[in-house]
């Protein structure tokens, strides 16, 4: 490594960019084959490029035309090319008819980290995608008979209320994840974690009431200060999912019941939290942390509430930081240490204060 030149970047100290604050505009990557007169969904999306009367509320990028009988590899290559050409940090993939298979295959390769792109937010397709190819990916199925204007409206609503939820990253941050600086397995992890939380997801280990309470707790202990509605990560839902998978942190205080039971009892003890004003909620949190709040139903002592709440705070802050958008926000690109290994492994040549390497994203300061 000695002697390897590493150009240095200029640090940016400009205020947070408008790109992060504005409601993000969707980009739809549309798979097109050589059918000269596309119909239905693809026709509707392609039609938005014709400069019709009403401009579409999203951008459209069309792939090069796929030949009949093109291999899945050719299809994926064409889609990846179109994603890169769009330059968008977050996008939907759209296709109809037999091209849905291309979209499904591309999604599978993105979720495995194999495809060198990043920013998959959802699928818009004319028929359902096999669940194993796009697990957890928000998907809108639109019948090919849908009229062009309803299709455009449906995509816009799907973006606003489902696929486009959660925080947004800058393009240059997404590009580092997409690049060979990030290993395929790490890219796969980040791709899954960047998918929007499903607002309609039913909790698995908590009741709906307990989940709502945990959402309130999350807002109090890890206030995400989302720049717009829907831009926050649903940390509570992610905790519920982790607990359902039985994820342990390797220990628990002997005074506490097993993790899931502690969550249930602790949240039941806070069932009145939503009735309190913000100041009272904060006082309650402080009382728990100080060991001064006992569960009203007597199922958790003040000591147990204090211990459980420490675990819950750790779970919530770790879930927040695990999202790639949070990594950008705090200025962390340490995941980008090359890959897959051996001599391909990459680190940093510039280690000193205020030094930044050329490949690194801007990661503007948020405060």
């Amino acid at each position: 490594m000695v002697g390897r030149s590493s150009p240095e970047a200029t640090l940016s100290r400009s205020p947070v960019s408008s790109e992060l604050l504005a409601p993000p505009r969707a980009t739809v990557i549309v798979v097109r084959d050589d059918d000269t007169s596309p119909t239905g969904l693809v026709s509707a999306l392609v039609g938005t490029l014709d400069g019709g009367s009403a401009p579409a509320p999203f951008d459209v990028q069309i792939t090069e035309a796929l030949r009949p009988g093109a291999s899945p590899d050719d299809g994926v290559t064409a889609v990846v090319r179109a994603i890169r050409a769009s330059g968008a940090p977050r996008w939907l993939l759209a296709a109809s008819g037999s091209d849905v298979r291309v979209v499904a295959e591309t999604a599978a390769r993105i979720l495995s980290g194999e495809a060198g792109v990043f920013g998959l937010a959802g699928l818009v397709v004319s028929e359902a995608v096999p669940p194993h190819q796009a697990p957890g990916v928000p998907t809108l199925v639109l019948d090919d008979t849908t009229t062009p204007s309803s299709a455009v409206d449906a995509v816009a609503v799907f973006w606003r209320d489902r696929a486009g939820l959660g925080p947004t990253m800058s393009s240059d941050f997404a590009e580092v994840i997409a690049s060979t600086r990030t290993s395929p397995q790490t890219r796969a992890l980040l791709a899954r974690r960047a998918l929007a939380d499903d607002p309609d997801r039913r909790p698995e280990v908590l009741t709906a009431t307990q989940l709502d309470t945990l959402r309130l707790v999350a807002d109090l202990v890890v206030p995400q200060r989302a720049p717009r509605p829907g831009a926050a990560i649903d940390l509570a839902a992610r905790i519920d999912a982790d607990q359902n998978l039985g994820k342990s942190d390797g220990w628990r205080n002997a005074a506490l019941p097993p993790d899931i039971e502690a969550y249930r009892r602790g949240l039941d003890a806070l069932a009145d939290l939503h009735l309190l004003g913000l100041d009272e909620q904060r006082s309650r949190v402080q009382a728990i942390i100080d060991g001064d709040f006992e569960a009203p139903d007597g199922r958790m002592s003040a000591d147990q509430m204090q211990l459980w709440f420490e675990d819950a705070r750790v779970d919530l802050v770790r879930a927040w930081l695990a999202h790639p958008a949070t990594m950008e926000r705090i200025g962390f690109d340490g995941f980008a240490n090359g890959g897959p290994g051996g001599a391909m492994f990459q680190g940093y040549d510039l280690l000193g204060a205020d030094r930044r390497e050329q490949w690194e994203p801007t990661m503007e300061v948020v405060r």
Binding site: T186, V222, G250, R252, G331, G334, Q346, Y348, D354
Partner: protein, 533 residues
Amino acid sequence: MNLDQMSTYPDDEIVDAVVIGTGAGGAPILSTLAARGLRVVALEAGENFDPERFTQDETEAVAINWMDERLSSGENPTAFGLNNSGKGVGGSTLHWGAFTPRPDERDLRLRSLTGQGVDWPIEHAELIEYIERVEAFVGIAGPADYPWDPSRRYTLPPAPRNASSDMMIRGCEALGITATDGPVAVTTVDREQEHAGTRHACVNCGSCHQGCRNGAKVSMDTTYLPSAVAHGAEIRPGSMVHGIELDEAGEVSAVVYTRDGVEHRQRTKALFLCAGGVETPRLLLHTGLANSSDQVGRNYMAHGATQVWGTFTEEIRSHRGYPSSIITEDTMRPEGVDFVGGYLIQSLGVMPLTLATTLVRGGGLWGDELVEAMEGYRYLAGVGINAECLPSDDNRLVLSDELDEFGIPKAIVSFTAGPNEDAIDEHAIATMTAIVEAAGATDTMILARTAHTIGTCRMGDDPADAVVDADGRSFDVPNLWVCDNSVFPSAVVANPALTIMALALRTAERFLASRGEGEGEGTAAARPHGVAA
């Protein structure tokens, strides 16, 4: 690691030795015995990893940690899991920080010198000879001249300094504290490791605790274990031991373990238990063996590992580079204090999720303060300690009545820092705060934590108050040997892994000597007291 060409032994063959655990204790033993031609099998609870599959991602990197639940109690309950417990072929050396200070002579004679703590039953000079052999074999980077030990030499150039390192050097210089590049088990140049191939030079990615992907960091799967396998040892990953059988003479005759859901019974002539400061005593308590002293599980110790972080005006981004490259040993025996022992200070780099966890557990942060602290992550540089911890009867590992998936009771570990630990901590916080402020911090933050799981099966000369003798051999079961951090009679300020590896070489050679096979080359001088051969 590559196990494709590995020798294998059938369960019903009586092998020469079974080694439980493949970390810093088990691996050098396995290697030493295999090189002597013994038929040896290692049973490792964790899986065998391809280092190229490691990821920096902190959420998923716990794959290399022991995440099976343990119970903690006491005033300072130990947070297990990713902070201090490894699992996988290579054990805790997969996730360790690779910081390798040597044990201080005064630490091994704490009782003689201060009347507190206990003495080690091993001479410091003898231990250092084994340490030097470990250092030569695995490759340790460090300064050309070590200020606190002029005779010491490190052959590899030191790890490059990051912004936290520069901060600590600056702060120490301003205060007149000597600080320099620390001894670290990281190869800073490409290095050919016998039987393991090329270990590439460290690329300063900072992900030591998440698993090193290019072999730069010393871990057992890139050093001692490839050597063991080349000499005919078998490593069985995914093998959880839950039973030990004795013959009529009271010696171990077989080890019972579960692999892939199937129970196996490996017959053996000797057993080395090297499962770490929690799993080793847990298995002994579960099997009821080697505990006539009633010392199994007692004197659990955790190093004080408090950190002080400062906010700086520059971007520090301490995740870059080897995390803890600077050391001072000036604080090993501070003057004018009312505690015994001391501490060392190291510079700190930290990954975000790890920091946030400590902000909550050790700093009590929540809400805006927590989020703002993390938004200021890039401006944080810190220092931390590794501090003496005295053995105490009150700090103890026992079995709970909750069973794990193998039917073994989960461990309950109780730890409360004593007055000596508290006094060291207070002194260290003042010193660290002064360093960070002298370096120009605009704001400082104290985060309490502990590190390492030590004690619970201590070695000693008296069978009445020790589990194993100075060679690591059980007083009760003559062909049972223990080697990991559980045998430490006292915590010793130095981070434990280097000492564990040295003890492992020594235990293996004492075992060989006990069989009448003598010792390896260059070890005669390392046997000053002589052992019946």
